[in-house]
Every structure is written in structure tokens, then in C-alpha cells.
Symmetry: C3
Subunit: 149 residues, 3 copies
């Protein structure tokens, strides 16, 4: 009998942990990309950030930087929710195959969302956002049913 709790011996939990790590690493790469973009365009958020950096200015309205920041904020609206509800979903004892597809769809959707936001590709970006949200909502409803019934 497969163990169904929070242990790397439970294949559903191991998959949740692996996909969670991947989507977090994606977000950390995006944080680095914000810094890269700030240096590329020479625009920083704070006066102390541009001291001794010739040609750099402190402004909050550079379109390239603000695009990365909007994307990062969209990650913050979606990824912590996935991480929290995904763990509870593992504990509902879902079918491994169904669970795996929830994790895969969310992770793939957030990766393609990132690329399509940076490349300004619509409606792909909205489709990816929606796919990731639907995977999270599906898990949330299953957790609600397991907890409330």
C-alpha cells in the first residue's frame, strides 16, 4: 500500500515537492531578471541604488522594469496559493495520475505565462494564467470538500 501522507515515500507528495521547487526556481530566476533589466535600462527604485552608478536614475515608471514587476506580482498572486493548497490536496489522497496532471498543468502554465508576459504575446498569456488558476481552483475545491464534509 502506498503511503498517503507527507513523506517522500509517497509518490504524490514527492511529485508535489518537485513541481513546487521548479515553480519556485522559475520565480527566483524572474527576481534575478528584474535586477538584470534594471541594470540594462539603468533604472532603479531607490536613490541609494544609483549612487556611484553613472547614468543610472531612480524612477518608478520604466516600462520594461514595470512589466517584469507586474509579472512577478502575478506570480505572487498565484504561486503561494498553489504551494499552500497543493500540500493540503496531497493529504486528500488523490489518484496519483490525476494529482500529477494538476501539478504539471500548473507548473507548465506558469512557465509559459512567464515567457508570454515577457514577450507580450496575447492571448497566450491569458490562456496560461487561466490554466494555472483552474488547476489551483480544482485542488482548492477538493480540499474544501475533504475538510468540510
Amino acid at each position: 500500500m502506498a503511503y498517503t501522507g507527507l513523506s517522500f515515500g509517497n509518490p504524490v507528495f514527492a511529485a508535489y515537492a518537485a513541481y513546487s521547487s521548479l515553480v519556485l526556481l522559475k520565480m527566483f530566476v524572474l527576481a534575478g531578471y528584474t535586477t538584470y533589466t534594471r541594470f540594462r535600462v539603468g533604472v532603479f527604485a531607490n536613490p541609494e541604488d544609483v549612487k556611484g552608478n553613472k547614468g543610472a536614475v531612480a524612477r518608478l515608471d520604466n516600462p520594461d522594469v514595470e512589466r517584469v514587476r507586474r509579472l512577478h506580482r502575478n506570480d505572487l498572486e498565484n504561486i503561494p496559493a498553489f504551494l499552500a493548497v497543493g500540500l493540503l490536496y496531497v493529504l486528500t489522497g488523490p489518484s496519483p495520475g490525476v494529482a500529477l496532471w494538476h501539478f504539471r498543468i500548473f507548473t507548465a502554465a506558469r512557465c509559459f505565462h512567464t515567457v508570454s508576459y515577457l514577450a507580450a504575446v496575447q492571448p497566450l498569456r491569458t490562456l496560461c494564467y487561466t490554466a494555472g488558476l483552474l488547476a489551483t481552483i480544482s485542488m482548492t475545491l477538493q480540499v474544501l470538500m475533504a475538510g468540510a464534509l
Copy 2:
């Protein structure tokens, strides 16, 4: 003896899971309400979002949209913290009745906070914000004592 770990057989955990799901669903509805508001006022964040949408503009300063975004950000400042510390709080083995009131107060406070922010009702909004934060701080202090002592 009631089980005290992370299992839907533990009534405190089941309640935590149910209220966490409810507060996440509330946040997802808010995400949809942002999109609804953008279409209602015809204001979007990115140039690629308004292509082929006659009369829509890309601006970042619409008061209606920014109000929903400030509210959503306030959710991000409070809900992931509740989700994370609530799980640890379940593991401290709290009295079920006391735990249930923490979860209920937080969830109700965030729902009424949402409505009062959208309807611009003060000081109800600040009271709801404070009630939700105090419930979270109470759980955080109990987790700190269980972990540090």
C-alpha cells in the same frame, strides 16, 4: 483519542483545510473581479492587452482598477501568512474550539474586509483588517512558543 497531526481525521486540521480553501476561493474571485473591472472601465495594464479592443487603453492609474489591486495586495500580505502559520498552529495541538475561532475570525474578517474595501466603508475595513491580523498573530505566537521552548 483524536489524532492531532496533518490528517483529515483530525477535526482541527479538517477545519483549517476548509477555512483555508474558503479564503483562497475568495481571493480567486477577487482576481476575477480585477479582470471584470478592467473590462468595465476599459483600462488594461499592457499595450498587447488592448489590441483589437476598441476604446480600451493601457494605463496604470484608473482609480477603480487600482482600488481592486490594492485590496488584492492586502490579501497577499495576509492570506499566505495565515495559510503557512495555520498549518504549524494545527501541529501545536490546540484546543479544537479555540482553533476553530481563530480560523473563523480570520476568514470572516477577510471576507468583510474585501466587501468594505470595495464599498469604501471605513472604519469597518480597518477593523476587519485588524481582526484578521490579530488572529494570525495569536497563532504565530503560539507556534513560536511551541517551537522555541
Copy 3:
């Protein structure tokens, strides 16, 4: 044999819970500091916040308030990720000494990051941000290896 699961009897989990609580309390203090700063400078975000408050205005561009808000957002980009991946990291069964240093470095880095952001001290702020992120990335990679291999 020390228990390695999610229980306060497991010293690694207890340390994770204690440091998580500390870093959350730090963030809640920052939320209060935002309110303090708004009252100090008399600048609020919403028209309903300044009614009956003589001399207060609703504006979104006060430099002191926006600095605290940028710092708070940086917390949101880093602390929920630490909370989520730290729990999974505990379940990989790390060496207690190594795990403790991950938690200590993250918590100390975020506290000093907060102070250096408010005091506008560079490059200390960037060093603290990087130290906290590296501790989180190290845990994330260990979780990925435990889950994917």
C-alpha cells in the same frame, strides 16, 4: 532516534516553526510601520481613509510610504517562498546543524534587509537580500532532488 516528520518533537521542525514565526512577526511589525508612516506623513491610499482627518491627503506617491511598501513587497517575494519550501526541506531529513544554519541565515538576512532598506544603506541591503535568497534556493534544490530522484 530523532523523529524526522512534522512534529514539535523533531528538533529540525521545531526550529523551522520558531524561525518562521519570527520572520512572520517581523513582517507584521512592518505592516504596522506602514500605518505609522502614513499617519506621520499624513498620506493615505484611499479617499475614505482621510475623511475627518484634517491635513491628511490621499496620494500614492509619498516617498517615505512607498519605500516601506517596496520593502513589504520584497518580503512578499521572499518570505512565503521560504515558509513553503522550508516545510518541505524539513521532510527531506536534513542534518539538524545544516538546517539550523539555513533558517538562521534567512531570518537574520531578512531582519537586516528590513533595517537597511528603511535606513537606505547600500550595498548592505543587496547583500542581505542575496543571503536570504541563497538560503532559500539551497533548500529548494535539496527539495527538488529529494522529490525528483
